[in-house]
């Protein structure tokens, strides 16, 4: 099956879309050899900075690089404005939903979302029932995965409301682009992303417990150096200027959380935790875990410390709940969703299941609580045996699965060794929610499937990343034409130099 995809630079191969003019002529004017050289320099930069991730079950590569592509992905300001409005609406709905399901449960009583999806959800935490959080904020940091299928249509592929990762790549990708291609960057008006860390810290401080004495102390909780995202944790702690703590650095006394410092115990008010619910407190959750802090949940429930994201947010980013997001948005905002879901069949519903079983070869089937590109079936790419084994799984336990059509994800030109070719991408913007509202730094992490035709962008499956630019495009009247001309002159000059 061939997917004729929408290309973000050339639409369907004919024209150059607004925003990409300079990049297109740059790609046209730069010899492959030079691009290759730059690609290698980029890799060297990443290697030197030590931007790595770990792959589980990989004995060799405790530390690996995520491939970085030098061709930026561009969104125009109007496109971004629409996206960010949609993101704000979506994340507000996520927070309202969590407040509701851990509170009065109105949406369940109204029958909009089936009760068992919530109460029998593995990520539902009864400990959170009836607890009020500062400013009712559950999801302070959301990573919303978005795909595009044509000039007009963006779909939300997934909401990440637990501990979304990858933001360090958003920041470092920009850094590397600025170092490697300063002229190219200078010729665009690219909205900056560098303020992300400041915004994040400010956001976290706004949700500190009311009992926090004075300026709130924030710490970032990591599972430690063996975690796949450890590099990101240390990078962020550095940028935020807060301590990177492990469970053993913390202790709870009389329901107050402290960290052990060289100057004695120091109270911690807000924990940006990158440790999953199951592992944060061996007294409350998994007793065999050594990553967490005994008593943390009691301090949390006593309102003496804020966890970001809150405990139990996983109940909202589950793939089954995902399919209800349009209804959830309507329920709490009374407005139509700005960003749509990918059409989704819930296999728990008999009619949908029948359709899915009849069309397995054309669909993408996902486990409701799977992530990272594991445990999914990409029908058109799968062989018969795989399809049949999924059919068995579906029949055995249909409620564990959802199915979606194979989307023609948009492509962006990508340097692939022998030259520049279109590759499929997605986008993960990071949405911050604090007492002062919702903020999204313009851009996000663009992930790209480096294999030709592949739709799987996860780094654990060999995907790469790109810098994501939100650019202000001049309206194409007389003056801006002149501007463009002078820009391309500039380019030929630098080309000669």
């Amino acid at each position: 099956m061939t997917v004729t995809a929408f290309d973000e630079m050339t639409a369907l191969g004919q024209e150059c879309r607004s925003g990409y003019e300079i990049v297109q002529s740059w790609l046209g004017a730069t010899p492959t050899e030079l691009l290759r050289l730059r690609q290698q320099e980029a890799e060297l930069l990443f290697r030197r900075i030590g931007i790595t991730f770990a792959v589980y079950g990989d004995a060799e590569g405790e530390e690996r690089l995520i491939p970085f592509d030098i061709v930026p992905r561009i969104l125009t300001r109007p496109e971004w404005d629409r996206l960010s409005k949609g993101l704000e609406q979506r994340v507000n709905a996520l927070n309202s939903f969590l407040k509701d399901v851990y509170g009065k449960g109105e949406i369940l009583r109204a029958g909009v979302v089936p009760e068992d999806l919530v109460y029998r959800n593995p990520y539902y935490r009864p400990e959170m029932q009836g607890l009020r959080l500062p400013h009712d904020i559950y999801v302070s940091i959301a990573g919303i995965d978005i795909v595009r299928v044509d000039a007009e249509t963006f779909y939300v592929l997934e909401d990440n409301a637990r501990t979304p990762s990858g933001v360090s790549y958003m920041l470092e990708n920009r850094e590397v682009m600025m170092r490697l291609f300063p002229e190219l960057c200078a010729r665009h008006r690219i909205a900056p992303v560098e303020n992300y860390a400041d915004e994040l810290l400010a956001t976290l401080k706004t949700i500190a417990p009311r009992s926090a004495p004075g300026e709130p102390t924030v710490a970032l909780l990591t599972p430690g150096p063996f975690n796949s995202a450890y590099y990101e944790h240390s990078f962020l702690a550095d940028k935020l200027g807060v301590e990177l703590v492990e469970g053993r650095d913390l202790f709870v006394r009389e329901s107050i959380l402290y960290m052990r410092t060289t100057e004695g115990p120091k109270r911690v008010d807000v924990v940006y935790r990158r440790v999953d619910d199951d592992f944060i407190d061996p007294l409350a959750f998994r007793p065999d875990s050594v990553l967490g802090v005994p008593g943390l949940l009691s301090a949390y429930r006593a309102g003496n410390v804020t966890l970001a994201n809150a405990v139990g947010t996983g109940v909202s980013d589950d793939k089954a709940v995902y399919s209800y997001m349009p209804e959830i948005i309507r329920f709490y905002s009374g407005a139509e969703p700005i960003l749509n879901n990918v059409p989704t069949w819930r296999c728990r519903e008999p009619e949908s299941l029948r359709y899915v079983l009849d069309n397995l070869g054309d669909l993408v089937v996902k486990e409701v609580d799977g992530s990272g590109g594991y445990g999914m079936l990409v029908g058109p790419k799968a062989d018969k045996a795989t399809i049949e084994s999924f059919r068995d799984k579906l029949v055995r336990d249909p409620s564990k699965f959802i199915a979606q059509p194979t989307l023609a994800l948009s492509t962006v030109p990508t340097f692939v060794g022998e030259g520049v070719a279109p590759r499929h991408v997605d986008l993960r913007p990071y949405v911050l929610t604090g007492a002062d509202g919702v903020k999204t730094v313009p851009g996000g992490l663009t992930r790209v499937a480096l294999k030709e035709g592949s739709l799987v962008v996860n780094s654990s499956q060999g995907g790469g990343t790109k810098d994501t630019w939100v650019v202000d495009v001049p309206v194409l009247d007389g003056t801006s034409q002149a501007q463009l001309q002078s820009q391309s002159q500039m380019q030929s000059q630098t080309g000669k130099a």
Binding site: S234, E243, V245, E246, D249, R260, T262, E263
Partner: protein, 312 residues
């Protein structure tokens, strides 16, 4: 600063220092083993190397005989020896990685590069390229020290790395001296004889102090003067007195940073004062061995006080 961070910095520098000391001890043993038989060369120089690093017992659990090959393997490469050079550098790198952001780029690169280069040396038939290996270890610790000195902010982080170095070094100097005095000379060999002379010179060489000795004393190598140089002489950077001068300075700097004194400051100062007021006669009166054992015990007590006060 997090206690764990301070702990990692402290042990990072202790392990790098320990790797260097072990390399120096192997170096000295190699020199001793090369002494011509005419000088009455001892047969236990390899055992004394083990004793100097404090792992004679552990060695005996794994090997039957102590010779160049087995001892070098054990001291330099063996995974069974937690203080082998290889283990030291691995633990150092592990600690460095866990506090990567508290290190300067130069410091991190020194330790990471050493860790990568370590793989180039043969663990089997370790005496091959041995001198290259020992030079590499000393070079690593030199550039580690140098990059700490030249690039680190003079904050509490810096203090903890310095304190780690000097605690470890004081311990090593005391042990090296102690071993010479008690293990090395075979029964029947004359104190002050030629073997004795060469052994003391090797000790001095092993801590890069032979030239210094001649500058300070302007006479032949004599055991009590070696002891003076390595215990009491504050000009000598590896002497115990000099180590304590530094330990006291950096512990005081910490106390100023944090606005609070504690038991570790008091013990360090007491030990330093004691060393400053000691005369060579005092050292030898109760016996050098007892004197050194006392220092080693105080030093390790100081280590646990620092641990209790800052690192847990």
């Amino acid at each position: 600063m997090l206690s764990r961070t301070a702990d990692s910095l402290y042990w990072l520098s202790r392990y790098v220092e320990r790797a260097e000391n072990t390399a120096r001890i192997i170096d000295a043993a190699t020199r001793l083993a090369a002494l011509p038989a005419g000088y009455g060369a001892a047969t236990n120089e390899w055992e004394s190397a083990l004793a100097a690093t404090g792992c004679l017992e552990a060695f005996r659990q794994h090997y039957d005989r102590a010779d160049a090959e087995t001892v070098v393997e054990f001291l330099a490469f063996s995974p069974q020896n937690p203080s082998s050079i290889k283990n030291c550098l691995e633990v150092a790198r592990f600690n460095a990685r866990s506090v990567r952001t508290a290190l300067t780029t130069e410091l991190w690169e020194t330790i990471n590069t050493a860790w990568l280069e370590l793989k180039n040396f043969p663990a089997r038939d370790p005496t091959q390229r041995l001198s290259d290996f020992l030079r590499f270890v000393k070079q690593t610790s030199l550039s580690f020290d140098g990059s700490a000195y030249r690039t680190m902010l003079r904050s509490d982080s810096y203090c903890f790395t310095r304190i780690g170095v000097y605690i470890e070094r004081a311990d090593a100097t005391a042990r090296i001296l102690d071993v010479k005095y008690h293990v090395l000379l075979p029964p029947g060999a004359k104190v002050g004889g030629s073997l004795d002379y060469f052994q003391w010179s090797s000790i001095l060489r092993s801590v890069s102090a032979l030239t210094a000795y001649h500058w300070v004393y302007r006479q032949n190598v004599k055991p009590w003067l070696v002891a003076d140089l390595l215990i009491l002489n504050q000009q000598m950077p590896r002497s115990i007195a000099s180590c304590y001068e530094n330990i006291t300075r950096y512990l005081d700097m910490l106390a100023r940073h944090y606005g609070r004194q504690g038991p570790s400051q008091r013990l360090a100062r007491a030990t330093f004062t004691h060393l400053q007021n000691s005369k060579l006669d005092d050292v030898f009166q109760g016996g050098l061995h007892d004197y050194l054992s006392g220092l080693i015990a105080d030093n390790s007590r100081l280590g646990s006080l620092i641990n209790d006060q800052y690192l847990t």
